[in-house]
């Protein structure tokens, strides 16, 4: 397996040779931030294209085909359009908060994005409490949505924002329980160690029944966390025009849009890290020649492949089911997902104590 830390260490050494360590640290910070933001935007563009094509396929259409071959340049055209559009300011709105809200949403999503392990040594933030930090960083995105809804001075936005608040606070609980199930199983919260622990088998195979249940609950709750259909009632088009981002235009709307897509990427990335082994290739203990062949595929491709598979599953769910009502959303969470998740956590603990995991 190729270790990316050799490259990063070499760059670090090079920078330290030509300048004082303090300046090198600063340059590295800027470089890492630049790379992270660039990757963030590139993935967003890829995902918007993917969403359009997958949605079209589920509806028996072809999707964008005109701009560039197979419509490949469509997203770039859209981004360009969004960049040159005017940013409108609203009468009687709270200007400061109105302009702050999109940045809060993007900040939360970029912070979470930095925790994803793209490959061996290709990981920006690797704390000893990585999973917990992911929960924390993703939890304040809802603040931006609430602020956007409130400061727009529009009742549709406000209703959308409050719905979003209720939904995201509830579903965070399920996500927390699912992550906890995996933490109980692996005994660590550090992301690099979590991936390392899946060297001889992914957690979804190692943890069998409780891991599969946790995976399903995580997918449902993660879908709700990204405000996508069937949980898109914060921005329900038919009732609330566009929900919390009704009044936003130009790139401010673009931030919400990109953050929504990247939250989907992050949810899928965490799912593939925790359940499907992250960048770890498919290893079956005993079949050494098979494992060696699998090792030849780079870890980045494994990670992206798994992530985009989970994204595809989430899009499949999105384009299949109709929107839930707010009471259905809340009762699904509190009457079904939380009790089942807690029971599942108990089963997992029992399995770990009895040594029933592989």
């Amino acid at each position: 397996m190729f270790d990316f830390s050799t490259i990063t260490t070499a760059i670090d050494q090079f920078l330290r040779d030509i300048m004082p360590s303090q300046a090198a640290l600063l340059v590295e910070c800027v470089l890492v931030a630049l790379c992270a933001v660039l990757a963030y935007v590139m993935f967003a563009i890829v995902m918007i294209f993917m969403e359009r094509k997958v949605c079209a396929a589920f509806q028996c259409r072809l999707g964008p085909m005109r701009v560039g071959p197979w419509g490949l340049l469509q997203v770039f055209a859209d981004v360009f359009k969004m960049l040159i559009k005017e940013i409108i300011s609203i009468n009687n709105s709270d200007k400061v908060l109105y302009n702050l809200a999109p940045y809060l949403v993007v900040m939360s999503s970029v912070l979470t994005f930095c925790c994803l392990p793209f490959g061996e040594g290709l990981l920006v933030l690797d704390f000893n409490i990585g999973i917990f930090f992911i929960m924390a960083a993703s939890s304040f995105g809802v603040l931006g949505i609430l602020l956007a809804g409130w400061s727009s001075n529009n009742k549709f936005s406000m209703i959308g924002a409050v719905r979003s608040g209720a939904q995201m606070i509830s579903y965070e609980l399920s996500i927390g329980i699912c992550l906890l199930t995996i933490v109980v199983m692996s005994g660590t919260m550090q992301i690099s160690e979590l991936v390392e622990a899946q060297r001889d088998g992914w957690f979804i195979f190692k943890g069998h029944l409780p891991a599969v249940i946790a995976f399903i609950i995580y997918l449902i709750a993660g879908n709700a966390e990204t405000n996508r259909a069937p949980f898109d009632l914060p921005e329900a088009e038919s009732e609330l025009t566009a929900g919390f981002h009704t009044e936003y235009s130009g790139m401010h709307f673009g931030f919400f849009y990109v953050a929504e897509f990247m939250n989907l990427f992050i949810v899928a990335g965490i799912a593939s890290t925790l359940f499907l082994g992250g960048w770890m290739p498919l290893h079956i203990s005993g079949f050494d020649s098979f494992n060696t062949i699998m090792d030849y595929i780079p870890g980045v491709i494994w990670f992206l492949g798994k992530t985009f598979f989970v994204i595809w599953v989430l899009m499949w769910i999105r384009w299949t089911f109709p929107r839930l009502r707010i009471d259905q959303v809340v009762s699904l969470e509190w009457k079904y997902l939380v009790p089942i998740g807690l029971l599942n956590l108990l089963i997992m603990t029992l399995c770990v104590v009895m040594g029933w995991i592989f």
């Binding site: 509806q59 028996c60 085909m65 499949w316 384009w319 089911f321 089942i340």
Partner: protein, 148 residues
């Protein structure tokens, strides 16, 4: 107690019904797509025979039509799309004078393709064809003389 109405039964049955929905869309995902890529597919595209795109008069090789200039089509047309100019022609053999079509004008821009004119024609002189690419740059070009 009905098993379907218990807590566990509800979870299981809702999962089953959700899976049914997912299965349906998955089949749709892999079916061939129905989108027609219009300007590129001119050669292969299929337009139904009965698609009403434009009125025409069937002419024989001499340019004669079956129209008897009765004016029924012009009278039926709700939009006044058709105007018929006639002239009186005296038949040389019998010496009787007869109303003959001089000019059959059809305004495509006014037509709503209701097919009343075609239905009312006693001689089946007019019909709709499916040649639909009728866009022009000038409105006056939509007024078409159908007979020769």
């Amino acid at each position: 107690m009905d098993f379907k109405k218990t807590y566990i039964g509800r979870v299981i049955y809702s999962l089953v019904s959700l899976t049914t929905g997912l299965k349906t869309t998955l089949i749709e995902f892999f079916t061939p797509k129905v989108t027609e890529q219009y300007p590129e597919n001119r050669k292969t595209q299929h337009i139904s025979e009965r698609h009403r795109a434009m009125l025409y008069m069937s002419l024989d090789e001499n340019g004669n039509n079956k129209c008897i200039a009765c004016g029924l089509c012009a009278n039926t047309c709700p939009n006044g799309t058709i105007t018929i100019k006639t002239k009186m022609v005296t038949d040389e053999e019998t010496g009787k004078s007869k109303k003959v079509l001089e000019e059959y004008t059809y305004d495509l821009g006014c037509c709503m393709f209701c097919q009343l004119c075609v239905n009312v024609c006693p001689k089946d002189a007019i019909a709709f064809n499916n040649k639909y690419e009728n866009a022009v740059f000038d409105r006056s070009k939509l007024v078409i003389k159908l007979n020769k």
